[in-house]
């Protein structure tokens, strides 16, 4: 079955959604991510949605679910790269994405995750090899 790849970056997981996801694919990503957070002992999850030209209520719910589940598993989630037109549409749709942290791009997302972790771990592990 088709899957969205999850990359490990130090103590964070990075997901870049580059396809127009059907609902089952979104649900599979949710399941895969929760599994990987535990297996990789991840402290943070970055979800890059800059390639998504829409976020509907189903994908919005998936993002909220991931944020909620990761929090329970002691990891933070940051959604990065939301297009302005998507943000405007989400608000009119009535979705405020409660509990989701957002950042403009991956660099700021990583900063947010590091701050949330008190700067202890994270991308440094990756940069230092």
């Amino acid at each position: 079955m088709e899957r969205i790849p999850i990359l490990k970056m130090g103590s964070f997981l990075l997901v870049t959604i580059q396809v127009d996801m059907h609902d089952q694919l979104a649900l599979a990503l949710q399941d895969d991510l929760t599994g990987r957070i535990v297996r990789d002992r991840a402290q943070g999850v970055l979800i890059d949605i800059s390639a998504l030209d829409i976020v509907d209520s189903f994908i919005g719910r998936m993002l909220s679910n991931i944020a909620g589940m990761s929090r329970v598993l002691d990891a933070e989630t940051v959604v990065v790269g939301m297009r302005p037109s998507v943000a405007i549409t989400l608000v009119e749709l009535g979705l405020s994405l409660p509990g989701i942290r957002t950042a403009l791009d991956i660099d700021r997302g990583i900063e947010l995750l590091r701050e949330a972790r008190g700067g202890e771990a994270g991308i440094n592990d990756f940069e230092e090899g």
Binding site: F58, T89, E92, L95
Partner: protein
């Protein structure tokens, strides 16, 4: 005032039976919205509305059809989308339009959200006979 003549410039029908069809409908709506010259924000709104309505057709309507058109009414041009099914119908439309009301596993934002995201919204539903929702968005006016 004379009623403007509505002319369909292009018409596409998408069968809606499985989840993959929702993706196909989104992509077809995007192509028409670009062709109709809608702004990027209006494109995003109508594609999002279409995604919600297509999912309603598949999940609640037990499958149906999307009829997607670019329309010229002389003084305005835009996109008109119709989603129809022969499913169980909606007994109380007022209630179904209310945010948070859901009979399924969703958020209950689909119908009301689609209404907010389009410039025109019509719904007709009879219990036992199915549901038909039509939305439209015109270039440069909302």
């Amino acid at each position: 005032m004379e009623k403007p003549e509505s002319m369909t410039l292009k018409k596409v029908e998408i069968p809606l039976h499985a989840q993959e069809d929702i993706v196909a409908a989104r992509q077809a709506v995007r192509r028409l919205a670009v062709e109709a010259g809608l702004s990027i924000i209006d494109q995003t709104k109508i594609v999002t509305a279409a995604s919600e309505l297509a999912r309603n057709t598949v999940v609640h309507g037990r499958g149906g059809t999307a009829i997607l058109e670019t329309v010229d009414e002389g003084h305005r041009r835009g996109v008109r989308l119709t989603f129809e099914d022969n499913g169980p119908g909606i007994p109380d439309i007022e209630l179904a339009l209310r945010d948070g009301y859901t009979t399924g596993a969703g958020l209950g934002l689909g119908l009301g959200g689609a209404k907010r995201l389009s410039s025109e919204f019509y719904i007709r539903s009879e219990p036992g006979e199915g549901t038909r929702v039509t939305i439209a968005t015109w270039k440069g006016q909302r």
